[in-house]
């Protein structure tokens, strides 16, 4: 059925930005925008009349140049420049803005993950062990050390801690049949025997010395060494590293906040004991306060131009290294998932079992 034409004219909106902001947002963005222009991260033609838009365009291009597309293939999260260390709902933001008396003197570069990427590494370790006895432990140590620079990693250490805590309340019989007992039992021998004793430097050297025979082994090591190179000179920028003198009130906020949500979950295979412990913990994450972001770098705005530019440059250096490193890590995780798929296909007993690795969003149900 065709109705009568409406006698209404809608305007054609051309050359108009899709985002408009309050002066509370424009002021701080303008200060950072000037710095980004001086550092050549933003360009004059990014200017559309809004400082927030200007910064967003420069930042978007910076992320693209640092392989953000590759990063997104595996990691589910965001890197943002914001005036708050934790995420606010629209309602909370309106309330904060209504109570605000002056423009903020801090912005933060914040990195966080909406879901933990699943890394079922067991099949990969078995492959690496066939290449060299020490290779699985060296690979595991260098991979986790580098991932820790950018995120909280949930692996067998966390599961062991969780299991120990819960086993205290179980009787011997209950403990014997519980999933917690399996956490320790399922750790592959190649990791249990060596990973704790193998230090990062020695592991890194081993990766350079061992020449794998298989293509996939060489690929894994190449991407891992690449990841390691991008992360050189960078340490994890936890919110806990921000001092009270840098951001007044940070200590109180950190006391009320919970630990960061993990950016990845390293299991031996999907739905193993580590996965079970993670699921239990994930159900209660964020119940007692906001979760700290994984990465937080404060940028104090009321400082001399030279100091501000240096601070912004360091924050963007960190962001660039993080993106480049996670892009290489994404390639590694994809290879690990492929090897896990292959393992499932080879060991499948029943037809119809899913062979695809689970979605990265293993924590979706509680978000």
């Amino acid at each position: 059925m065709i109705g009568l034409p409406l006698d209404v004219t809608f305007p054609g909106l051309k050359g108009i930005r899709w985002r408009y902001c309050t002066r509370w947002d424009e002021g701080p963005a303008a200060v950072v925008g000037m710095s980004l222009l001086r550092l050549a991260i933003c360009r004059p033609n990014d200017w559309s009349g809004s400082a927030v838009d200007f910064v967003a365009r420069g930042f978007g291009r910076f992320c693209s140049q640092n392989r953000a597309v590759d990063v997104k293939r595996v990691w589910v999260g965001d890197l943002r420049i914001t005036d708050s260390l934790f995420e606010l709902t629209d309602q909370e933001r309106n309330q904060v803005e209504a109570e605000r008396e002056c423009v903020t003197d801090h912005l933060y570069l914040v990195g966080d993950y909406e879901a933990a990427a699943s890394i079922p590494i067991g099949a990969t370790l078995a492959r690496l062990e066939a290449e060299h006895l020490l290779l699985p432990a060296a690979f595991y140590v260098v991979l986790t050390t580098n991932l820790y620079k950018w995120m909280r990693v949930y692996d067998y250490f966390d599961a062991q801690e969780h299991a120990e805590m819960w086993m205290e309340d179980l009787s011997d019989e209950e403990s014997e049949v519980s999933v917690y007992r399996k956490v320790d039992a399922e750790i592959p021998a190649c990791i249990k025997a060596r990973a704790k004793r193998l230090k990062y430097r020695r592991a890194r050297n081993l990766l350079g010395e061992i020449q794998p025979r298989t293509g996939v082994g060489r690929e894994l090591i190449r991407h891992l060494l690449e990841m390691d190179a991008h992360g050189q000179g960078h340490a994890h920028a936890w919110p806990g590293h921000i001092s009270e003198s840098e951001v007044p009130g940070i200590d109180d906020w950190l006391t009320d906040a919970e630990n960061s949500r993990p950016g990845c979950l390293i299991t031996w295979y999907e739905n193993d004991a580590i996965n079970a412990c993670f699921d239990e913990e994930a159900q209660h994450m964020g119940e007692n306060g906001p979760c700290q972001p994984n990465v937080a770098l404060p940028i104090r705005l009321d400082q001399p131009t030279k100091d501000l530019d240096e601070r912004v440059r360091r924050a963007f250096d960190h962001a660039g290294a993080m993106l480049q490193s996670l892009a290489s890590a994404a390639k590694i995780v994809e290879l690990i998932r492929d090897l896990y798929d292959e393992y499932l296909r080879e060991h499948r007993l029943e037809s119809g079992l899913p062979v695809e690795p689970g979605a990265a969003g293993v924590r979706e149900e509680q978000l």
Binding site: L6, D7, V8, T9, F10, P11, G12, L13, K14, G15, I16, R17, Y20, R23, E26, G27, A29, A30, V31, G33, M34, L37, P44, N45, W47, S48, G49, S50, A51, F54, V103
Partner: protein, 88 residues
Amino acid sequence: MKHRKLAVAACRTIDEDATRVLRALKQASHGHVSANDPIMEHLKQCPEAYKVGEILGKAFDSLKYAQDGSEIGDRYLPPSGVVIPPLV
């Protein structure tokens, strides 16, 4: 020689652009509305265009928060006969 002149001219334009944007950002950092904001220019030339924002704003709010028993999915259009000025 010609290339050099062109390069010098291009550098000058980039510098001029950067200076112009820096000036606008400085104004914005002090809470002043930029004179270079294209939408502000449009609004100056055509104040009726505020109505566009008002009507669209209400329409989007209604879609986001269904009010007074209305349901999401209802049509939200201005009354028949309204002519919304172009904003181009």
